[in-house]
């Protein structure tokens, strides 16, 4: 890897004008990246994401891309009408407890907090990560050190200055296992395992996690450095993960760790009213350091679990937008003249994963037979109201930056399925049962009904075992065959690492293959975009051959909004970014 990072003298030509023009600190890999874009070895999207992660300003990245690809400069800027300031945006969304941002486990919680406490970086709806509380950042050549320069002049709502001490306090809390933050796993490169000296019940020494010695280094008031024990590229992206909101340095130390009771933040909004399960009222209380925030108030209303109630609320104009529009209602909303449907492709999906250690699913030919029955196009259209994007049974999504498009798409082949079934020893057909909790909506049953119909001609009789979603989640890792929903994650390697690596907690398929694990390690360590795609292809092929997950489609997600709401994006992770939103009367 070090070899690739050596700066190629020829490639400096891409860098120097930009460097001069934008005055950006630049990572040594940027010229290489720029060269790849120039030679069309990577596309614009890949370039933008990676360049931004490596610390190039987004303006510079966009400008570079535009120059090289021949687009007019300044195409980023949105031609828009002049925003009208003021007004209240009413949103239907679950209002959950909001104590410690570090331990948030639902995006909804972070969305209320988002206007009070802010993040070091921001990932936009187009998957590029841009500065936020951090003005810029630099990565070391080996990607093992990261320096973040914080924006000057930002004040907390209590009057204190925002400094590196705040960031250090947050990072220390995240890396302390006692906090119970899921960020601990995200910043795994700054964490080590050590022997506590105690012995567990099984006689083995008890291991625990802690931050590595010099992980956090405050350089001055506005500069902080992170030292990693292994290379990591996604550090800036991680700072926008929803539990990574930066709280005041007194949080959880001088004041109890409860944001709803001690809401000190850098954002422009105050929490005026907060009733769990009912409403959260945010009121603009001060000027925002980042510029104009058009809205005066943001009101969140909890309409419960019943998606019908959400839809009814927007139809009867009780709210202006929904956190999420259930796929079953998309067609209806489209027919209402005062409402818009906003849709975006995500890497959200659901996989009908086999538990490969359970009979009869330990038989690879049986698993392959099911895969051979699948018609992904039909599943994506009929199983998800035409809002599905056909998937390829390997859990890596076309919108992932490490996705390679040149692998063959799976095809339905009933004759092959019959042959595989015969090889598996089920000449006269087989009865299989799949567990489903409709955990993300009734469409899951629809999908499985389509799958059931597709499997029937091959002699595979599928029974759908429908159970309450709570019951499904109680046993989701144990069901021999189950239909599990997975949320969006920014990287293909991230998903595969979470779900299919040997022995990891969320490995619901019990899949275990050292070759796969090794291939995945290699892909994760690769910085070069194209090489990474190639290496991930190896992993994907292993997963496909092992026939672990029949994966019907990727889910497009939709939002409904009143036509008077201008500038609303659908973020693939449903994060609320309302800084450009304004209301047209």
């Amino acid at each position: 890897m070090a070899k690739k990072n050596v700066l190629n003298r020829d490639k400096r030509k891409y860098l120097l004008p930009m460097e001069r023009k934008w005055g950006a600190e630049t990572h040594c890999y940027l010229p290489e990246l720029t060269d790849q874009l120039d030679r069309s070895r990577i596309d614009r999207r890949d370039f933008l994401r990676q360049a931004c992660l490596l610390g190039m300003t987004s303006a510079a990245a966009y400008a570079t891309a535009d120059v090289l690809l021949g687009r007019p400069l300044g195409s980023v800027a949105r031609a828009a009408e002049t925003p009208k300031p003021g007004g209240t945006l009413r949103v239907s969304m679950a209002v959950q407890e909001m104590t410690d941002p570090a331990t948030f486990d639902w995006t909804e919680k972070s969305n209320v907090a988002r206007f009070i406490v802010e993040y070091l970086t921001r990932t936009r709806a187009d998957n590029t990560t841009v500065p936020y509380l951090a003005e810029r950042w630099e990565a070391g050549e080996d990607l093992k050190t990261w320096v973040f320069h914080l924006r000057k002049g930002i004040k907390w709502s209590n009057g204190d200055d925002f400094t590196a001490a705040d960031v250090a306090h947050n990072m220390a809390r995240w890396l302390d296992p006692a906090t119970g933050s899921s960020n601990l796993g995200l910043f795994d490169a700054m964490v080590e395992e050590y022997d506590t000296g105690e012995k567990g019940a099984d006689g083995k020494p008890k291991m625990a996690k802690r931050a590595i010695g010099n992980a956090i280094e405050v350089i001055d008031d506005n500069t902080i450095k992170f030292n990693l024990r292994k290379a990591a590229l996604a550090i800036p992206e991680n700072f926008y993960n929803y539990p990574a909101a930066i709280v005041h340095r007194s949080f959880g130390k001088d004041t109890p760790a409860d944001l709803s009771k001690h809401p000190i933040g850098t954002g422009p909004f105050d929490l005026a009213e907060f009733r769990v399960g009912e409403r959260a009222i945010l009121k603009k209380a001060r000027k925002w350091w980042a510029g104009d925030f058009h809205l005066d108030e943001i009101h969140y209303f909890d309409h419960g679990q019943d998606t019908n109630a959400w839809v009814a609320a927007i139809i009867s104009n009780q709210v202006d937008t929904l956190y999420r529009l259930p796929v079953e209602s998309v067609e209806t909303i489209k027919r209402i003249p005062t409402l818009d449907v906003l849709t975006t492709t995500t890497a959200q999906t659901a996989v009908a994963r086999f538990r490969v250690t359970e009979k009869p699913f330990d038989n690879v030919n049986l698993r392959r037979a099911v895969l051979a029955c699948m018609d992904h196009n039909e599943l994506a259209s009929k199983g998800f109201n035409n809002l599905g994007v056909p998937a390829q049974n390997d859990h890596v999504c076309p919108i992932h930056p490490d996705y390679a498009d040149d692998m063959p798409k799976p095809k339905r082949d009933i004759e092959l399925a019959k042959k595989l079934l015969k090889d598996a020893g089920y000449e006269n057909g087989v009865k299989l049962t799949i567990s489903n909790g409709d955990t993300d909506g009734p469409w899951m049953t629809s999908t499985l009904s389509v799958l059931k119909a597709q499997c029937a001609p091959a002699g595979i009789d599928v029974t759908i075992n429908k159970m309450p979603s709570a019951q499904y989640w109680e046993n989701w890792t144990k069901a021999p065959w189950g239909y599990t929903s997975w949320t969006h994650r920014p990287l293909g390697t991230m998903v595969l690492s979470l779900a299919y690596r040997t022995g990891v907690p969320w490995n619901e398929s019990a899949y275990s293959d050292p070759t796969f694990d090794k291939a995945l390690d290699e892909a994760e360590a690769e910085l070069d975009v194209n090489a990474r795609k190639e290496k991930l292809k190896v992993c994907r092929q292993i997963l496909r051959d092992a026939a672990v997950i029949p994966q019907p489609f990727w889910r497009q997600i939709s939002k409904a909004a009143s036509k008077k709401v201008i500038g609303l994006d659908v973020h693939p992770t449903l994060y609320h970014q309302f800084q450009n939103v304004w209301l047209d009367s």
Binding site: A312, E328, R335, I336, P468, Q471
Partner: protein, 302 residues
């Protein structure tokens, strides 16, 4: 002490008659023609029953087949047919869904009510005939179950054990057999003092023979009325569970589930999708209630 029955039945009116056969059971139903309310009820219920039996012939389409979404009633179907009741948001033919959904509701309501009756009748006979400790225990258990608001009980049971057809039947048995038990118990307490029962006892007949062949047939009048009412409640219950998302598994049609899936579209200008199943369930329940009312009227006239 007064016995308060928290079920919507009239005070039982035991009919003193000698032991009777199946024919007598049918005769009391045949008396219906004397009551126009009962006759209408019978026609409605029979109509739905006929629809359920003939579902494959009546339903024009596959109830789960998506065709043209949001078609209003009487629109033309692409295959040249007509969507008599329109289609739903996924383009499935409403008429076919109502017909098949009706079959499903009727089957489950009948099975569940019958099962509840078997349990309730046996418990009631035992409590009323053996009295003493048996009675105390059975009555107490019944009181405990009846102290739950019914829907609270259903929600607790279904959410705990899952929404399958079998669980719904079990929940209905659990929740409604205590009510049946109370009625049968008070009828038994009364009938057990009749001469023909005492005669049978002196003949040396077994307790179960007396309960099932001497007492039960003579309690039939109020029980038939109650059965019809309960069929109505069970229909309501199955619909309510479907409505709350605890009902029979989709995608096969179920009236309550159909209402809940499409009810937000009423406001969007497509009221037929939710209102048609709402009317269907109300009509069927009305049939059962009118039938029960007619039977009661006839019984009182006797």
């Amino acid at each position: 002490m007064v016995d308060i029955t928290p079920t919507r039945t009239t005070t039982p009116e035991p009919i003193a008659r000698p032991p009777s056969t199946m024919r007598r059971w049918l005769e009391s139903i045949a008396l219906l023609r004397e009551s126009w309310v009962g006759s209408i009820g019978a026609v409605i219920v029979l109509g739905f029953a006929l629809m359920a039996v003939l579902a494959p012939l009546i339903a024009p389409y596959d109830p789960n087949l998506p065709m043209v979404p949001f078609a209003f009633p009487l629109s033309a179907a692409p295959d040249g047919g007509v969507f008599w009741l329109g289609t739903d948001h996924l383009g499935r033919d409403m008429l076919s869904r109502i017909v098949w959904g009706g079959q499903r509701v009727l089957i489950y309501a009948t099975v569940a009510t019958m099962a509840a009756y078997i349990v309730g009748v046996l418990m009631g006979l035992m409590a009323g005939y053996f009295r003493g400790w048996t009675d105390e225990i059975i009555t107490f258990i019944a009181n405990v179950i009846l102290s739950f608001p019914v829907m609270v009980l259903y929600v607790l049971i279904i959410a705990k054990f899952g929404a399958s057809g079998a669980n719904i039947v079990l929940a209905v048995v659990f929740a409604s057999s205590p009510g049946i038990m109370r009625i049968v118990r008070s009828l038994t307490l009364d009938i057990a003092t009749r001469e023909y029962v005492i005669a049978a006892q002196t003949r040396g007949e077994s307790s179960w023979y007396i309960m099932l062949w001497e007492i039960l047939p003579n309690a039939r009048g109020p029980l038939i009325v109650d059965f019809c009412l309960r069929m109505g409640y069970t229909t309501i219950t199955i619909g309510a569970l479907g409505f709350l998302g605890l009902g029979l598994p989709p995608p096969d049609p179920d009236w309550g589930g159909m209402i809940t899936e499409t009810r937000s579209f009423v406001l969007a200008g497509f009221p037929h999708m939710a209102i048609i199943p709402a009317v269907a369930v109300s009509l069927l329940v009305l049939g059962f209630n009118m039938l029960a009312d007619g039977l009661r009227e006839v019984a009182l006239r006797d």
